[in-house]
């Protein structure tokens, strides 16, 4: 909402400058986004000096002037042959600037000549009526300077951001009232002469058929108005507020809208069939060609202004093409109404039209402003459209609006704010927002009609606090009962997992919860895969963010890709976030997943080791560390069923009998579709079952004491078939129930000469310890020998 200070000062005596006014408004709750000078915003409108005047034959009516701005010399074409003179200092709009008439100035080519800008008339510069004259500047003016600086002209316009509750501030008058409330500067209330209130008999008929949609409908007929261009002062005010001038009648409706916040609509009387004006619901599928040239199909909940035969206007939102004022219009009907804000909002949303008018109606207007607006418009029409006559005001107001009576006790006020304000001060403040009556316990307030936002005691409290000044309110700490809430198990668990991964060298990422369907499709999932049963966004910003993710994989791969293309060749990232699945209800099933991705090299280029690419054992190792620290047994079941993982380099992860995730290397072909040319390993785990499991685990640690007796180890080295898995051997050892065995692990695998090609050599180390004695070598040797034999026999291995 733009508020020119010059206009504002017609309603209030401004005692201080723009910055201070802005500060007062901001601290009063009316945010000032900027203080603008529309003249400066036009761009480079500067003074130039004419150095040479040429009249090339082929240009006919045009003359070519060479001018200087003090720095450069350039040519300008003009039709004002008679007015240009050598050495004249004159106003010029440079290419890229804009004129008062909203014209964008560009470099013009005519024949072989170029015009680097345009000489301005006072009108085009926004300085006065004159259009045919050039803007000649005093002869002693500097060149290359802003014409407004030379002429000492500036306009300050406050750009306000008005909160949706304060529809009353969407006008110059409203802002003036607010400033008066906040400062007590002298308010100059509008005054209307009595003759404006009466007139001839209204020559038509008005009916409100939809009383729920229209609370008040008023209007007036004007006979034989002269449709023409508005005088400069009207045009300038509209321009200061960013509006274009159209003709005097339309401009007056806009003028009153800006000034009083009352939207008006002017009809061409001749287009009103049978001179009946009906405020009614639209008929189903009724069509209306509107001012923006679009014909829309209306529905019953839309409110229209109609004549005997057709809808003329989508009430409060936009006029119709046919019934509007044109140059040929002679008689007009001027409407001023109060429509139901909810109805206007719904129609405005349904048809996706937001106008200055609908914006104000849906934020609610001042019911009393309906008549004031009409009077103000009458005053202006008389002044600039010279009607031959006008009618009485027709005012249909079926149910008079009575503002609420709000009771506020002193005790409630003090309890709510936490401190007490003297009664006299409260009363003084309340007098600024309504009629106040002191009662035994406090106050009774009837807000002014334009303060439609004040309805309940809390609203009144806010006004008191606001006008008293938020800054003056004391700073205290709540007095409350002491209790210490527990941190939820889920948050603790998430934090633990995050910190584990951080210590393992992983970087946490956060990717969007919405993804591209295409990226999900790239995963090659089976048709019945649950992850293809996703929730879709009805109004996405882009197709790449149009479905709710059901897996973290696409987001992680995209992140890897983003990094890969920006010189990252080694990456360890993880994300903990939600995935979403549809349910029978409207709410989704939201599951917290952990995704881990490693890409490229496992190490950096360093002096102490060779570069090595990440492989499955890295991923498995990280996962093992995490699960061990969480004290949760997860089975790595070889050969994942995930279609985007290399089957031979992947696992499904199981917690007891339940699959909770997967881990493995992504297929090259899939990566290619993501345009990623490096090795990528990924794991995704549903954290919910882990969290459940974690809850079962007792908090206490299983504490072990340092051993009293020494341990001893023995190795079994043997050669066996390559395809025999170490895991099988270790599982076999487990079931042997070997006495004193503390730990067993494979410590060496060797393939290559002299071992035959289809065989490998392995070394398995056994650690033995007794809890109550030092084991004797003979005993251990005996055990080891038996174990070795069993292994050799079971796996057809040969000792080495």
């Amino acid at each position: 909402m733009k508020v020119p200070l010059s206009w504002l000062s017609e309603f209030i005596e401004l005692e201080i400058g723009p910055e201070e006014i802005a500060e007062i408004l901001t601290m009063g709750g009316v945010e000032v986004e900027a203080i603008e000078d529309p003249y400066q915003s036009l761009g480079e409108l500067i003074s130039v000096k004419i150095l040479e005047i040429l009249e090339p034959q082929e240009l006919k009516d045009l003359v070519l002037c060479k001018v200087t701005d003090g720095k450069e010399t350039f040519t300008v074409l003009t039709t004002a042959k008679e007015q240009v003179k050598l050495d004249l200092i004159i106003g010029l709009a440079k290419p890229g600037s804009m004129t008062f008439t909203f014209e964008k100035v560009e470099i013009k080519n005519i024949k072989d000549y170029k015009s680097y800008g345009m000489f301005l008339s006072p009108y085009e510069a926004g300085l006065g009526e004159e259009k045919d004259k050039l803007l000649i500047l005093p002869q002693d003016s500097p060149v290359g300077e802003s014409i407004y600086k030379i002429l000492g002209i500036s306009e300050k316009v406050l750009d306000l951001s008005i909160t949706p509750n304060r529809g009353d501030l969407l006008s110059i008058l409203g802002v003036a009232r607010e400033l008066n409330t906040l400062t007590s500067w002298k308010f100059k209330a509008p005054y209307f002469e009595d003759f404006l209130k009466e007139g001839e008999k209204f020559p038509g008929k008005i009916e409100i058929l939809d009383k729920e949609g229209c609370f008040r409908y008023a209007g007036r007929f004007f006979r034989k108005v002269k449709i023409k261009e508005s005088p400069f002062f009207v045009q300038k005010k509209l321009w200061l507020c960013g509006l274009k001038s159209i003709n005097n009648i339309v401009d007056i409706t806009n003028y009153v809208l800006l000034e009083f916040g009352q939207p008006l609509h002017a009809f061409d009387w001749e287009k009103i069939e049978e001179k009946i004006i009906k405020v009614r619901k639209a008929y189903p599928k009724e069509r209306l060609l509107m001012l923006d040239g679009i014909e829309r199909e209306l529905e019953e909940n839309d409110l229209v202004i109609a004549d005997a035969k057709k809808a003329m206007v989508l009430a409060g939102i936009m006029g119709g093409e046919i019934s509007g004022v044109s140059e040929k219009t002679e008689n007009i009907f001027l409407e001023s109404a109060w429509f139901n804000p909810k109805r206007i909002r719904k129609s405005s949303q349904r048809h996706k039209i937001v106008t200055e008018s609908s914006y104000r109606f849906e934020r609610n207007i001042d019911p009393e402003g309906v008549i004031y607006g009409l009077l103000r418009a009458t005053e202006l029409i008389l002044k600039i459209a010279e009607p031959e006559g006008y009618s009485e005001i027709i005012d249909i107001y079926p149910k008079t609006f009575f503002p609420p009576q709000i009771s506020l006790s002193k005790q409630k006020l003090t309890k709510f704010l936490g401190f007490s304000i003297p009664s006299e001060e409260v009363e003084e403040i309340l007098n600024k927002i309504g009629w106040v009556k002191k009662t035994g316990y406090g106050f009774q307030v009837v807000p002014f009609s334009y303060r439609q936002d004040i309805k309940i005691p809390e609203d009144v409290i806010e006004e008191i606090a606001r006008i008293y000044g938020y800054e003056k309110i004391p700073i205290t700490f709540p007095k409350s009962s002491l209790y210490s809430p527990e941190i939820s198990a889920q948050l603790k668990f998430e934090k633990k997992v995050k910190n584990l991964l951080k210590s393992l060298g992983f970087f946490e990422v956060i990717t969007y919860s919405f993804i591209d369907l295409a990226s999900l499709e790239k995963l090659n999932l089976a048709e019945d895969d649950l992850r293809l049963n996703f929730l879709e966004i009805a109004n996405p910003l882009s197709i790449t963010q149009s479905i709710m993710r059901t897996t973290l994989v696409p987001g992680l791969i995209e992140t890897a890709r983003f990094n890969f293309f920006r010189e990252v060749n080694s990456l360890k990232i993880f994300e903990i976030g939600k995935v979403f699945f549809p349910t029978q209800n409207i709410l989704a099933k939201e599951l917290i997943h952990l995704g881990i991705l490693i890409m490229g090299y496992a190490n950096k280029e360093v002096w102490y080791e060779d570069l090595r690419k990440f492989d499955l054992y890295d991923l498995k190792g990280y996962l093992t560390s995490i699960f061990e620290n969480l004290k949760i047994d997860i089975d790595f079941v070889p050969y994942s069923s995930e279609p985007f993982l290399k089957r031979g380099i992947s696992f499904d992860l199981y917690l007891e009998d339940r699959k909770i995730g997967f881990a493995g290397e992504i297929k090259n072909l899939i990566l290619k579709e993501f345009d990623l040319k490096t090795n990528v390993l990924i794991a995704e785990i549903n954290l919910e079952p882990l969290l459940e499991k974690q809850k079962e685990i007792k908090k206490a640690y299983e504490v072990r004491k340092p051993p009293k007796y020494p341990s001893t180890f023995r190795d079994v080295t043997c050669i066996l078939k390559k395809e025999i898995k170490i895991g099988e051997i270790l599982d076999f050892i487990k079931i042997l129930s070997i006495p004193y065995l503390e730990k067993v692990s494979c410590i060496k695998i060797y393939e290559g000469p002299p071992i035959p090609e289809d065989e490998k050599s392995i070394t398995i180390r056994f650690w033995f310890r007794a809890q109550d004695k030092t084991l004797k070598d003979e005993d251990v040797n005996k055990i080891q020998k038996e174990v070795a034999e069993k292994i050799f026999k079971r796996f057809l291995a040969k000792p080495r």
Partner: protein, 336 residues
């Protein structure tokens, strides 16, 4: 005279001892004086021809020297050995060490954790809830009916099934109040979504909601809590409170902190205002209490909500919100 010779020997011994610099010298010295055929033993052997009295006297002198020597040699040896290990063995100490790099938490996570800690200290409980919400929780219960222009303040993503992506963490106020009986103090961090994308707006971002309900927590208390939060988060900093409007609080306010870039003088970051808006808050609107069946004559409270990215951008001097969700390694590494 033998006693003079022994005296001479003693002097010679200590003079020689001074010359020991390494283990070789030490060994030579030991052999020379303390060895079986060493000088001290040689004199001891000579003593057999002397009188008992002299034997006793000279013998004890020799043994004393021997003992002292042995002790000093032990110390000397230790000294040499320790010194030996101080030698420069030609290691290139300028080479970097073997690195085991740690990762980082996302800056948004870090800010959320910091904020949670601040409010945990004040006894607030951390809760979380659904990101996909219904109109009711996101709007209606918060006193934003569907015809309300306040809905324009939050461009909403709708799902095809009629649900929506929560536009703020405020639905957690409703969920918390329905699940608990007052008094209560909660904070709810989480993701929120709005149809908006540019350098200052991301379609997904994070908020933290706070709510306190008790018998007489009031507007002055709200100021107190918010100032405490600002000081804990940004250090000693000027704050100001402006009246504002949210449908679910009344009175409402916005808190600004003095611009950290220009210290209030005005710059590009603060749009020349000298202030940065960091949160919205207010006293819980009675309509909100009504929607969770709290007795408005019994309970009152305040709520506040703030944008995590905004705090992170101010704290870390970031000017483009999108960088948080690109997750480039170099960016993430800065938060070590």
């Amino acid at each position: 005279m033998i006693s003079e010779e022994i005296e001479k020997l003693e002097k010679e011994v200590w003079k020689d001892f001074q010359k020991i610099e390494n283990l070789y010298h030490l060994e030579d010295f030991r052999i020379k004086y303390l060895g079986k055929k060493g000088k001290i033993n040689w004199y001891l052997k000579q003593l057999k021809d002397f009188s008992l009295e002299e034997k006793k006297k000279l013998g004890s002198i020799l043994n004393q020297i021997k003992e002292e020597l042995e002790t000093k040699l032990k110390l000397k040896e230790r000294e040499i050995l320790l010194k030996e290990e101080d030698k420069d063995i030609g290691l290139d100490l300028t080479l970097p060490g073997r690195i085991f790099p740690l990762g980082t938490l996302h800056p948004i996570t870090k800010i959320i954790e910091e904020l949670c800690e601040i409010f945990l200290k004040l006894g607030f409980e951390i809760i979380t809830g659904p990101e996909i919400e219904t109109e009711y929780y996101n709007f209606t219960a918060l006193n934003i009916p569907d015809w309300h222009p306040a809905r324009d303040m939050q461009a909403t993503f709708y799902l095809k099934n009629g649900a929506l992506l929560r536009t703020h963490t405020s639905p957690m106020q409703i969920r918390a109040m329905l699940e608990r009986t007052p008094p209560l103090r909660i904070i709810a961090p989480g993701k929120v979504y709005r149809c908006d994308a540019d350098i200052r707006h991301s379609p997904m971002f994070h908020q933290l909601e706070g709510l306190m309900v008790d018998k007489d927590v009031n507007f002055s208390d709200l100021k107190g809590i918010l100032i405490y939060f600002a000081k804990e988060t940004f250090g000693e900093i000027k704050v100001r409170f402006r009246p504002s409007y949210f449908p679910f609080t009344e009175p409402s306010l916005e808190m600004d902190i003095e611009c950290v870039m220009c210290k209030g003088r005005g710059c590009k970051v603060c749009g020349n205002a000298g202030w940065l808006e960091i949160l919205g808050a207010g006293m819980v609107h009675p309509e909100v209490f009504k929607s969770v069946n709290y007795d408005i004559n019994m309970w009152q409270g305040f709520a506040f909500g703030l944008g995590i990215e905004r705090i992170a951008m101010i704290k870390y001097g970031i000017d483009d919100i999108r960088i948080f969700f690109e997750n480039h390694l170099i960016f993430l590494e800065s938060f070590k």
